[in-house]
Symmetry: C2
Subunit: 292 residues, 2 copies
């Protein structure tokens, strides 16, 4: 089992902070050093016992670390990788928590050089509309899925250590190719976020916004919950995964365009077929009929 | 305060059944007679004490009733109104629970003739993805909004009685014109349902549906909760309110089309502005800043 003398967390938010708390709770991380952009958030992480010390930057956090997790919004990953690459020890392992994988892998290839084998790309599927160290909990990942997208170059030792760390967090591990990962999450996560943001934004810009929101109820609340997600994080995801996201957006637009004439001509039977098929699929999903 | 010797519930589902249970709990309904299409559901409503007796059709349920609530999917309302019109007593009041109001009002005008003044159009905003008498509860409407869309012809006495009934259910009452009602709910309810159904249906039809659903997580679950709603009910709403819904669908399509180039050119700042504005509006809404 891994034992981390020093865990470096770059980006001590919901994900990075919860990873640190879970490894601590499992007794696997002796000392946790955090780095990030927000002094206030790092101060809070210290006070909450999420980290033991604050480093002035990612490189100084990573110095001497056994494991470095980069859990920033994905647009910051290239700079973080460039910063930590020179200081990574020969046995240090680097992982990330990005919701997109092809861009993170490209950043690793560009920055890590011969140390690429020490990098294990990972995506814990445990979002929430809350963010920051304040929201971190030791059990966030219990029963949740974590997708690893190891490269041909990834060392088996590094992969095994990251797997052990996530298993210690209580997560269920899956493996995908980075490209497949990005295509799947564009469909089931990135597009829904974009759709929810778009709806709320559209209503908010209208002259009768107060009236509209005033009558919105529980269906609207749940449909738009993900529109309370972290704007910067989701901005980065949309940009990083734009190719797959645009394909999904176009596909969805075509789907709506196909529904339009059914509504226009009042084709109740066709609409009911679509709605009933959707409900049936969702019920199967809720029952756990679908596994990756 | 109203005292109903006989309450007739046509369509003893979540809404009609909960209305009956709430009025019973308030001690305002002595005898409740139900009618509907599904013998199994009516049998269950009897066993659960939602109704005291089953009538073979809407007309026989309405015979001698003080108050008739029509809580069927909206496409059935014209036939129900035509059925009950001849038997309505001079002091009987009719109301409905339809999610669309212009079509229900048109049906009332067509069927009720001189008894139109006895009709009070209403929309309780208390949906759920569960349906049927099995899901009915006495407190479903507590704190929920009910929109009344009275007509110029509606008698003040009938209006007052329906208001008292809904107040006894614990609901908060609002008034709108039918056309305004349908425009508002097309935006905040009908379109979101269509969008959620469309997304789940699209995923379900793909060859890799199991993989896609396999990686779908809590954000997807909440975004698509309303895609577990009653297909027939929502089919009817989409057809009944097609004009307003198509306007919303087109507007939303234009909104997505405006987001597309932001993603394509990787305009992080523009995307973040949209996402941040959406989040801010939603947070204000959650805090209760918007009232109709």
């Amino acid at each position: 089992m891994i034992r981390l003398e020093r865990l470096a967390v770059v980006g001590v938010g919901l994900i990075g902070g919860s990873f640190a708390l879970a490894l601590r709770a499992a007794g696997l991380a002796r000392r946790v050093v955090g780095a990030g952009r927000s002094p206030g958030n790092l101060e809070l992480a210290l006070r909450r016992g999420v980290i033991d010390a604050v480093a002035p930057d990612a490189a100084q956090a990573a110095q001497g670390a056994d494991l470095v997790i980069v859990a920033t919004p994905v647009a910051q990953v290239p700079e973080v990788f460039a910063g930590i690459a020179p200081v990574l020890g020969a046995h240090a392992v680097v992982t990330d928590a990005g919701s997109t994988k092809q861009d993170v892998v490209a950043a690793a290839r560009a920055a890590l050089g011969a140390k690429l084998s020490q990098f294990v790309p990972a995506h814990p599927i445990a979002g929430a509309e809350h963010s920051g160290a304040a929201a971190a909990t030791a059990d966030l990942f219990r029963g949740r899925r974590v997708v690893l997208t190891p490269l041909a170059e990834t060392s088996p030792q590094a992969l095994a250590q990251v797997e052990q760390a996530w298993e210690a967090c209580g997560a269920r591990l899956f493996r995908m190719a980075p490209r497949d990962h990005d295509a799947v999450f564009a469909a089931v996560s990135h597009l829904p976020h974009l759709l929810a943001y778009a709806l709320v934004h559209d209503l908010a810009e209208r002259s009768n916004a107060a009236q509209l929101f005033g009558y919105a109820a529980s269906g609207f609340r749940d449909f738009t919950r993900i529109a309370s997600s972290h704007p910067e994080m989701w901005r980065d995801i949309c940009v990083a995964n734009r190719e797959a996201l645009l394909a999904e957006l176009d596909r969805y637009g075509a789907r709506l365009a196909a529904l339009r004439p059914m509504i226009e001509r009042g084709d109740a039977a066709a609409l009911e077929r679509v709605f009933a098929a959707a409900r049936a699929a969702r019920e199967r999903w809720l029952k756990g009929d679908f596994e990756p």
